[in-house]
């Protein structure tokens, strides 16, 4: 089963990743350019948005794959994707370890 590939599936997941990477690049570039002209919080806020988009990209990629697996009635891999999503969410709940 594993070597079975659906071009549409690959394309959708690739689109998610490319959107995240290019989006992050342009947002961060905008932050840097803004920083040339403005000081203070505004450039930093833009750069923070870029970081958040980058952190969100892998999560969205897993959600999209999960959705596609369930839609294809490929239950096993749908549940596996849901498991990966759960682990990613775990990090948002138990992230603090400041000492």
């Amino acid at each position: 089963m594993s070597q079975m590939r659906e071009p549409a599936f690959d394309r959708i997941v690739a689109l998610v990743l490319r959107t995240g990477a290019f989006g992050c690049f342009f947002i961060m570039l905008a932050g840097l350019i803004t920083g040339l002209f403005l000081h203070g919080e505004i450039p930093l806020q833009i750069e923070r948005a870029g970081v958040l988009l980058m952190l969100a990209t892998p999560v969205v990629r897993v959600i999209v794959a999960c959705f596609l697996f369930f839609k294809e009635k490929d239950m096993k891999y749908g549940w596996i994707s849901l498991g990966v999503l759960l682990v990613l969410m775990l990090g948002t709940m138990f992230g603090i370890g400041e000492h």
């Binding site: 690739a14 992050c24 961060m28 840097l32 970081v51 891999y77 596996i80 948002t92 370890g97």
Partner: protein, 263 residues
């Protein structure tokens, strides 16, 4: 402002070297941020993770369009890599700075020795391009071994802010009977989620500095795009030795730093 420009240049060089040699740029970014930009090592790890995710997302989308990525295998192993990465990223909060710098120096030395012992060969030729568009049929084997090793690879990623490709590619290729080009693409695919799992934990702890991550990611992104274009036309062996030289220098510098010697 000059610092931001330097970070773009640093990211560019790391991205370029990473794309040319197949060794992720994260290995260089963390120690350089810690040693030359005065960033605490934990924040250096968290910040270079952002650059690692950006590179993985960009290059993985290219592999996906060539249909060489095994999403099912990748997703299955990600169960283990992301768990290892998240748990280790959490534990790193309890490590002191010296332990992290020592571990990083040891990792750089180990990687350098591994590359040198293989005579500077880090990637198989054309491992990413399907020959006449055909992937031989295969069935991944030994899932228990694959999952256990992925847990370790994920933990290393969370600990050092690296992608862990040098573990995952041979694991899939040698032990799970996956063709090399699929193993390479799938490893690349997994890096985003693995690094993402630990980056979320670093972010929540305040260990990702946006003002450092932004110029770095911009540089890495451009460097790896250009590197990927140049890779087929460039003799990589010289670049690999250059990379090993930088890695050895950084390992030595980290060790001196641990002993309190100022350069």
């Amino acid at each position: 402002m000059i610092a931001a420009l330097l970070l773009v240049v640093l990211g560019f060089c790391a991205g370029l070297l990473g794309a040319l040699t197949g060794i992720g740029g994260g290995v260089l970014l963390t120690p350089i941020l810690a040693l030359h930009f005065g960033i605490p090592i934990r924040a250096a790890i968290g910040t270079s993770l952002v650059a690692v995710i950006t590179t993985s997302a960009a290059s993985s989308s290219v592999h996906l369009q060539r249909h060489t990525t095994d999403i099912r295998l990748g997703m299955t192993l990600e169960l283990a890599t992301s768990l290892g990465a998240a748990v280790m990223a959490y534990l790193v909060g309890y490590f002191n700075r010296n332990a992290l710098e020592g571990l990083f120096a040891a990792f750089l030395l180990y990687s350098s020795i591994m590359i040198l012992s293989r005579g500077g060969k880090v990637k198989s030729e054309d491992a990413t391009q399907p020959e006449n568009g055909e992937i031989p049929p295969y069935e991944p084997k030994r899932y228990p071994l694959g999952l256990s090793a992925s847990l370790v690879a994920g933990a290393l990623s969370g600990l050092l802010g690296i992608g862990g490709g040098p573990i995952k590619v041979p694991l899939m290729f040698i032990f799970m009977d996956v063709p090399l080009m699929v193993a390479t693409a799938t490893s690349n695919f997994m890096i985003g989620v693995t690094a993402g799992a630990s980056a979320i934990v670093y972010y929540r702890r305040g260990d990702i500095l946006a003002e450092i991550a932004a110029p770095l990611a911009v540089g890495v992104f451009m460097g790896s795009l250009i590197g990927a274009r140049l890779a087929p036309r460039i003799h990589t062996k010289v670049i690999v030795y250059l990379l090993v030289g930088v890695m050895l220098y950084l390992a030595g510098h980290l060790i001196l730093h641990l002993w309190g010697v100022k350069l």
